[in-house]
């Protein structure tokens, strides 16, 4: 029977992961599809899942009173959505919203956390990979905060 194992092993997020670890995470994975406009998750909801995007585009949004949904970042092919499942209190920080028809691999965070409790090496490996995702996202948001193209830029005249 065809499993998700080769698909997961071939995804950039899992690149270089030991085959035995790939097998373990595959046991917590499922193929999912989202329609354009569908909410994958809402801010404040329990975060028991994460998604690895195979194809499509999703938005991370914050709702601001009086301003509606503000997109803070979009994610596409090869990106990972959702890291709140790995850090207590396991609560989504943003709305996650499919902008286009999106195919993804969904991972059950509770299932994985259970495996981490007995396989610390797997837990460390995943924590490292998610730290990298968080670091990159923090870096990108720092640049957004700098307002790179604001009125303070240039103007040597």
């Amino acid at each position: 029977m065809e499993t998700l194992e080769p698909i997961i092993a071939g995804h950039p997020f899992f690149q270089g992961m030991k085959p035995e670890h790939i097998r373990l995470v595959t046991g917590c994975a499922a193929n999912v599809r989202f329609e354009p406009g569908e909410y994958v998750g809402r801010e404040g909801e329990p975060a028991h899942r994460f998604w690895v995007i195979r194809q499509g585009r999703i938005a991370l949004e914050i709702h601001a009173p009086g301003r509606g949904a503000l997109t803070i970042q979009t994610l596409g092919d090869g990106d990972v959505a959702g890291w709140s499942w790995i850090v207590p209190p396991y609560q989504l920080r943003f709305d996650i919203h499919a902008m286009t028809a999106t195919r993804a691999l969904m991972f059950d965070g509770e299932c994985l956390r259970g495996k981490f409790a007995t396989d610390h090496e797997l837990g460390y490996e995943m924590m490292q990979r998610f730290s990298h995702v968080m670091l990159r996202r923090l870096e990108a948001m720092s640049l957004q905060l700098l307002d790179l193209y604001g009125d303070h830029v240039g103007g040597h005249d």
Partner: protein, 307 residues
């Protein structure tokens, strides 16, 4: 000063022009080597709004002069009479030109004054100055252009030149980031470029409301997904310095060596000749040695505060 005895066509400055710098335009006589410090009169042919704070000024010569030639990435000193000069890159097709386009962001006194110029108005121009994008060096290679904000303007002549000789290059990609959807420069032209099969165009904005259906995030986040061969790519990067530094970091992660990356620096340029020192950048002068630098030649200086 102007000589009222000469016919008007031979005089450089309009009679009674309030700005004495125009009066320094040489009178008719044997051709002399052009003085790079002397602005030449050019006339506004068009002034078109690009976004809420940017515009494209297309100029034609207001006096007889040899054909104007420039290479992609070079800049002119545009002189708004009575206000001052600003260094502005050309944004149109390079080569010999009797019309020159400059896409400008109105942020200071000179650029705000230039924005108010209408068809028929005259301004001064010195140039072209500076080192261009090394487009010919990219022959046979992939080309990646990464632009942030108004940084797309100096890259546009390079992209147009690549389009003119498309068969000489490998895969061509343009990654463009702007502050918000309303700040997207050349929006209609970008749509045309997106429709071409021989260039990958990705656009992102730093912030957007629900009406924006495109990518949100800084331009550096586009680099990991861009399609190019890291070992055989020439990367041209133009935008705010922080954006360029982080872009180079992403290119490093993709395996692009520093000697295959060129950046365009911005400093307070005055003379355009490396004489006045206003744009000194360590041992270099941005106006003369740049503005386009190969990254490995300036990498150490970029990390130094207040250089």
């Amino acid at each position: 000063m102007t000589d009222p005895a000469r016919p008007p066509a031979e005089r450089g400055a309009p009679e009674g022009h309030p700005d004495p710098r125009f009066a320094r335009v040489p009178q008719a006589g044997p051709p002399a080597a052009p003085d790079p410090m002397r602005p030449v009169r050019w006339r506004v042919l068009r002034n078109e709004s690009e976004t809420h704070d940017t515009f494209t000024l297309t100029l034609e010569p207001a006096e007889e002069r040899p054909p104007f030639r420039f290479a992609p990435g070079q800049f002119n000193m545009l002189y708004a009479p009575g206000v001052g000069e600003a260094a502005i890159s050309m944004s149109g097709r390079a080569g010999a030109a009797d019309r020159i386009a400059h896409t400008i962001r109105a942020v200071g006194r000179v650029t705000t004054s230039l924005r108010a110029r209408r068809r028929g108005d005259e301004i001064g121009l010195r140039g072209p100055f500076g080192a261009p994008w090394p487009v010919a060096l990219a022959h046979g290679h992939d080309v990646l252009l990464v632009a942030g904000g108004i940084g797309l303007a100096p890259l546009r002549p390079a992209l147009l030149e690549i389009f003119d000789h498309r068969e000489r290059f490998g895969r061509v990609s343009l990654l463009f980031g702007a502050r918000s959807p309303r700040d997207l420069l050349f929006a209609r032209e970008i749509e045309t470029w997106r429709g071409r099969f021989d260039v990958d165009v990705e656009v992102t904005v730093d912030r957007a409301g629900p009406e924006w259906r495109g990518t949100v995030g800084v331009v550096t986040t586009l680099v990991p997904q861009a399609r190019f061969d890291p070992a055989g790519t020439a990367a041209f990067v133009c935008g705010p310095e922080v954006m360029m530094s982080f872009t180079v970091r992403e290119l490093e992660r993709r395996g692009v060596p520093h000697d295959q990356v060129w950046i365009s620096m911005e400093r307070n340029m005055r003379c355009g000749l490396g004489l006045c020192g206003h744009c000194q950048f360590g041992p270099l002068f941005v106006c003369k040695d740049g503005p386009v630098f190969r990254y490995d030649r300036v990498a150490a200086l970029l990390g130094v505060h207040e250089v």
